[in-house]
């Protein structure tokens, strides 16, 4: 009984959920990073890491992390010291907050949590405005990017940061428009509500256009190939990250991979039916993870396949094609919603 009382304490539940989200936030990017190392390597007819941890280099990223921590944290002389040091945090915190609201599985046990702990189920928090929250919060990281680029006192960094900001402004719009069509169809802004609305069919079928727009726009937001101009290494060294070393650079990298996981997770929730599976009877959270993994793999796959677009071509694509199509998509969704 003491057990029951312990877990019904909202503070305990709160702490546990926070710890779980934090652990997921730290491990998922590592797993993804390893998959990228090995996946890319095998697509490119090489082996990838083989030494660290004895078995197929599984500990490579842990070793990398240790290396980042050990390295000297250099701040260039001309840099704006405080902003330079703050920028990685501004990038990484919004990404970690996204995981707070991603629903991984349904409430399978009978609900004991008191009101105020965010309901129950495999999610951190069930906001009424979940979609709004994730999209708004994930857009904050671009401020960190701009801070890093400006404070580095490096021309390459500056060009990279400005490109990143321009890219985000252009692609936030189709992203939001595509997502709002989904919440219109579901009739709710809550992420849990959206997943529950997909019980009979996944939204990827009626919203196939929106899904493509969402994936393309997420790739651009993450500045992943083929939209990696903000960090185009052959042009501007490494964009806003050029001057960073040690753990701060590591944080940028971590946030990139966490970003892939988080946006894949959002796409899974919005379009791929979240924890609702087909055919294979495995628990809901595993379904969610499997779908996130599949989408993240797609992101890696694209990196092995495509060269980089040019910045102006990217902008043209957003403003001339994606946004109008997304608007038409919303219009159609509205009509169907009203008619049927």
């Amino acid at each position: 009984m003491i057990f029951y009382h312990f877990f019904s304490n909202p503070w305990v539940v709160f702490a546990l959920k926070l710890a779980a989200v934090f652990i997921f936030f730290l491990t998922a990017p590592l797993v993804l990073g390893y998959v990228e190392h090995k996946g890319l390597a095998h697509m490119q007819s090489r082996l990838g890491p083989m030494e660290a941890g004895k078995f197929h280099g599984w500990a490579q990223l842990i070793a990398d992390g240790v290396k980042f921590i050990q390295k000297e944290d250099i701040v260039p002389d001309a840099a704006d010291r405080r902003i330079f040091m703050l920028a990685p945090m501004v990038v990484i915190i919004p990404v970690s907050l996204v995981f707070l609201v991603i629903p991984f599985g349904p409430a399978s046990l009978s609900c004991h949590a008191p009101v105020g702990a965010g309901g129950c189920g495999f999610w951190g928090e069930n906001f009424d405005v979940g979609v709004f929250f994730v999209l708004a919060i994930s857009a904050i990281s671009v401020i960190g990017m701009l801070m890093a680029g400006w404070a580095s006192a490096n021309k390459f960094s500056l060009i990279g940061a400005i490109r990143g900001a321009a890219q985000l402004i252009a692609y936030e719009l189709p992203l939001v428009l595509a997502a709002s069509a989904v919440s219109m169809q579901a009739g709710t802004l809550s992420l849990v509500g959206i997943v529950e609305a997909q019980k009979s069919y996944w939204f990827v079928f009626p919203q196939i256009v929106g899904f493509f727009i969402f994936v393309i726009a997420s790739l651009a937001e993450l500045s992943r190939p083929p939209f990696d101009m903000p960090i185009a290494d052959s042009e501007i060294i490494f964009g806003h990250m050029t001057e960073y070393t040690g753990i701060r650079f590591g944080l940028f990298l971590l946030s990139e991979y966490a970003g892939i996981v988080s946006l894949s997770a959002i796409a899974v929730v919005l379009y791929l039916g979240g924890w609702h599976g087909i055919l294979v009877p495995i628990p809901g959270p595993l379904w969610t993870l499997a779908k996130i993994g599949a989408l993240s793999f797609l992101v890696i796959w694209l990196r092995a396949t495509y060269p980089r677009l040019r910045e102006d071509q990217l902008q043209k694509m957003a403003w001339k094609y994606l946004i109008p199509i997304a608007l038409v998509n919303i219009l159609l969704t509205m009509i169907f919603k009203v008619v049927f």
Partner: protein, 393 residues
């Protein structure tokens, strides 16, 4: 809104419209020019080339290549080396087409000494030169993709290069600086199994070239990045002395293997692939098709290779070409490499002047980069095929 009169930058004084251009102030954001120094250490310049750019936003106003970081005085060093030693030296200025370089030196010396090179040696030289060309072009195929952000072709190119290097190693014992040519012939005959592996490799590489077709040439994004970028008209190319694939891409099919055949190039059947527009895509396309042509030549060498010795029976102990000079043109991987060799009857040349294709290719950079966007710098630089060691020598 204030109305001001400003002459526009590109307008000639006294020309039509001078001084009457009306710009509404505030309509355009005033921008400062930014000077950006790309290189000598920069991921996209493969080697220590430095390009100083003045940028207006992301648009390049002027581009000035700064060369000389890799100057190693090859011409001068050659004046203090024996003719046989120069061959080892010449391997190194363009490290991607080592065999082509040593071939040129050997040809020049032989011509000066009026040496007769055995038939078999000439055919084998051609075989090696073409394999070296494939080796070189694969490198540029891969790195061009890498600079545009496509990682995979680079690794594929290295996979193929690995195979070819193994082949070259069988005959020469080296993977990069072959030093296989000798004045008068070759170091030694081909080892057992070489031709068989060579035949296998031709088939394998021809098949694997399709990968590049899919990943780059047929890729929509790749086309978007390269078609119409860095257009080089044939006339301009000629006036800059540009040769090789870049000249061919501009529609001029000048190839010294055709126009002034050396070795046995007149006895094999091959085409000089040319482009139409002279843009980055055409240059890349020409490079790709040059590999196919090289493979064609290699196949013909397999069939026609005659038996016999690879060195003339009797060679003098000291190579002392008679007094005189000669100029040898060879179509090296990146273009025409010329050797101007002056002898005063000594064991060492009095002067050896190399005309290297990379130097002339790099001289195109200011012309090609004017007015393009910073991201296109990569598409242009990557398609102006050069090796920095070959620029500076």
């Amino acid at each position: 809104m204030a109305v001001t009169e400003l002459p526009t930058a590109g307008m000639l004084p006294g020309g039509p419209g001078e001084g009457v251009q009306v710009i509404i102030a505030g309509n355009e954001l005033p921008t400062h020019e930014m000077t950006l120094s790309i290189g000598p250490q920069h991921p996209s310049t493969h080697g220590v080339l430095r390009v100083v750019l003045t940028l207006d936003g992301e648009r390049i106003d002027t581009a000035t290549p700064v060369i000389g970081y890799m100057h190693r005085a090859f011409d001068k060093l050659s004046e203090a080396r024996d003719y046989r030693q120069i061959i080892a030296l010449s391997n190194r200025h363009d490290w991607l087409s080592a065999f082509g370089n040593e071939l040129g030196v050997a040809l020049a010396t032989e011509r000066l000494m009026s040496l007769e090179v055995p038939e078999r040696a000439q055919w084998i030289r051609m075989l090696m030169a073409e394999w070296n060309r494939v080796l070189n072009h694969l490198m540029f195929l891969g790195s061009f993709g890498l600079e545009l952000g496509a990682m995979t072709p680079m690794f594929y190119a290295f996979r193929e290069r690995e195979d070819i290097q193994t082949l070259m190693e069988m005959a020469t014992g080296a993977r990069m600086h072959f030093t296989y040519c000798r004045v008068g012939g070759l170091k030694e005959d081909l080892p057992k199994g070489f031709l068989k592996y060579s035949e296998v490799l031709v088939k394998r590489i021809r098949h694997r070239l399709l990968d590049y077709q899919g990943l780059l040439l047929g890729n929509e994004i790749f086309k978007k990045r390269t078609v119409g970028i860095g257009v080089l008209p044939g006339e301009v190319a000629k006036s800059y002395g540009v040769t090789g694939p870049i000249l061919h891409a501009s529609g001029v099919a000048e190839d010294s293997r055709k126009t002034e055949p050396y070795l046995k190039y007149s006895e094999v059947d091959f085409d000089v692939p040319t482009g139409e527009h002279g843009d980055s895509f055409d240059r890349f396309n020409v490079l790709y098709h040059r590999i196919e042509q090289s493979l064609r030549i290699i196949e013909q060498v397999h069939d026609k290779l005659p038996p016999g010795p690879v060195m003339p029976g009797k060679m003098p102990k000291y190579l002392k070409p008679p007094e005189g000079w000669t100029y040898v043109r060879t179509e090296n991987s990146l273009g025409e490499t010329g050797y101007y060799l002056v002898s005063r009857g000594d064991t060492m040349p009095w002067r050896l002047k190399m005309r290297t294709p990379s130097f002339h290719n790099v001289s195109m950079i200011p012309y090609l980069l004017k007015g393009v966007l910073l991201p296109d710098l990569i598409a242009v630089l990557g398609s102006v095929f050069f090796v920095v060691g070959d620029v500076d020598r």
